[in-house]
Amino acid sequence: MSLFKYESELREPLVKGSKTYHQITEDIVAPIEVKPGKLWYIGFYIAVCMLLFGVFSVYEEVVYGIGQWNLNKTQGWGWDITNFVWWVGIGHAGTLISAILLLFRQGWRTGVNRAAEAMTIFAVMCAGQFPVFHMGRVWDAFFIFPYPNSRGSLWPNFDSPLLWDVFAISTYFTVSVLFWYTGLLPDLATVRDRAKTKLRKLLYGIASFGWTGSTKHWQRHEALSLVLAGLATPLVLSVHTIVSFDFATSVIPGWHTTIFPPYFVAGAVFSGFAMVNSLLLVVRKMMNLQDYITIGHIEAMNKVIVLTGSIVGVAYLSELFVAWYSGNKYEAYAFFYTRANIYSTLGWSYVGMIGCNVLSPQIFWFRKMRRNLAVTFFMSVVVNIGMWFERFVIIATSIYRDYLPSAWSVYYSPSIWELGFYIGTFGLFFTCFFLFSKYFPVIAIAEIKSIAKTSGDNHKLNVAHVEAEEPEAFAHEYAH
């Protein structure tokens, strides 16, 4: 009953088709129990090929050194740190959907949170590799962790944003995994209890930790989810803020900006939601889950995209304004010569950024467009390309023209192995996601069941019926 007060009878149902609890289980567990379709095999095959290309690219870089990438003295952070920031950004929507929308009691999160959390984990796994391999001597990567060591008094620099990043990303990854996995326990138990083969019983039995659905356990589980959500919410904001500090605390024109933290967070949410949209459009089709991931869910995410896209638009304008108003000629040069100038060497990236991130999402002001699946899918790809451009603009255009013209590099373009590494992370991401969608419930079964009665088709029909025929009873029962 408690959910009634959060529900508007005008809002479309979150679960379509008047499902019973058992049907919900059947629908969501079905893809795990049957052989995957053709679409799954094709997608998985492509993903594994991309992953293998990535592995070979990384091998080239590790064996022959970082010179295999086209980085040079001026352009020390090329595609790989661009890709790092991009992947971390993608990783933000998952926890945002799970945690922040849980705190705000948004019922529509239940259909999409599981897939979004998984996306977060895989995206952060991809992101983490870039700084690690950017070190060059990857076998010394453990030096970044503070521990009482055998090298005398030698500690990492706690005053450095790069070390803050290490803590931020590893904490974010750990907390996201915990949040995701504790949420999965009840659903894994559901799969376990339906398992027919010995192997499935064994594996899901181990994975579900012996969950039985005791009321006391549910009570603790809810408390845990809520507190983890409360912890993860500022964590999401802190992680991308800290990533932005990598740039903002330096003195490079175009980086040394106080607007970076909120601007990065908005951009992360923007690109993350776009990626969730692309994935969910594929998953709902591939796994036949249109009743749970409805057009309403897609529309809600498109609304977030138009909002955050506009926020980053304002941030871009603020940057230009400050570059002009501050009177700092280096800053003005970075913005008006190297960036917002189509004739400069890397000017195309700024045009791509504005076009994809600020102008194109405005299409979502129209309801018809927000609810159009083809437009949504196309836009989700456009937004992700745009957000990659944004990170490239920040990184490459700022450092290829620094204070000293003698240090300027003429041009920078990635090598095949730098490109291959990026493609490889896509391979890793999609390989993990395809495996996840095959072996885990992509929708939180227990959470969907808890809103099925209050937000399902049946409830909406009943409420409409009571309101029409017994207005007084309706006012008494539902409105309060």
């Binding site: 609890y21 450095s160 209890d193 019983k201 181990i206 005791s214 356990h217 845990l224 507190v227």
Partner: protein, 196 residues
């Protein structure tokens, strides 16, 4: 490991479950547990369970994280290896804040999850008796423990009129044990004694 006798009442509607729980408690029976496929809000209160203290544990873990981070960084940069970076003082508190925050969150989260698993006896290879095979699917199972003074017949009869979809008496292990879910429930006599 002691096996006990239980009366298991199954419901397919949470609306029927609530009054039944209330009636059974009022009648003085001991509810062992109620198993539900999803969190049913208010059921813990109806059963008379106390609020969980998990939040408090999380707060304490968080404080430990804060202290570890601040203490550790201060010790390293003030005493063990005093260096000046970027013109910042040895005890550069503002620069310590990001890591302090991250470790606070990390300690609180990891600590809480461990505590949660500990309190609920959840771990890989932990095995528990399932009172109803569909309790994680669509059945709400109220499990009442039978004491020597319990009149089982009377209890079963009274439950039948409370909107149940099935009432049965089981003899089962109430606790958890190490085991595998693909193996038979070794230490438990799984036989349903009486199906009514």
């Amino acid at each position: 490991m002691a096996k006990k006798k239980f009366v298991v009442a199954s419901f397919d509607e949470e609306a029927n479950l609530f009054p039944a729980v209330k009636d059974v408690r009022t009648a003085g029976y001991k509810i062992h547990d109620v198993y539900t496929p999803f969190p049913v809000h208010g059921l813990d209160k109806a059963m008379g369970l106390r609020e969980t203290s998990l939040h408090t544990a999380g707060f304490i873990y968080g404080i430990i994280g804060t202290a570890t981070a601040l203490g550790g960084m201060s010790w390293v940069f003030v005493s063990d290896w005093p260096q000046i970076y970027d013109g910042k003082p040895h005890f550069a508190l503002p620069a310590f804040i990001p890591i302090t925050f991250e470790l606070t969150v990390l300690f609180a989260s990891v600590g809480m999850v461990y505590t949660f698993c500990w309190l609920c006896q959840l771990a890989p290879f932990v095995k528990k008796h399932l009172f109803h095979p569909r309790q994680t699917d669509d059945i709400f199972a109220m499990v009442i423990e039978c004491t020597p003074t319990t009149n089982v017949e009377e209890l079963v009869d009274s439950l039948k009129s409370k909107g149940t979809v099935g009432v049965e008496v089981q003899e089962a292990e109430a606790d958890w044990w190490w085991g595998r879910w693909d193996k038979s429930q070794q230490i438990i006599n799984d036989n349903v004694i009486e199906v009514l």
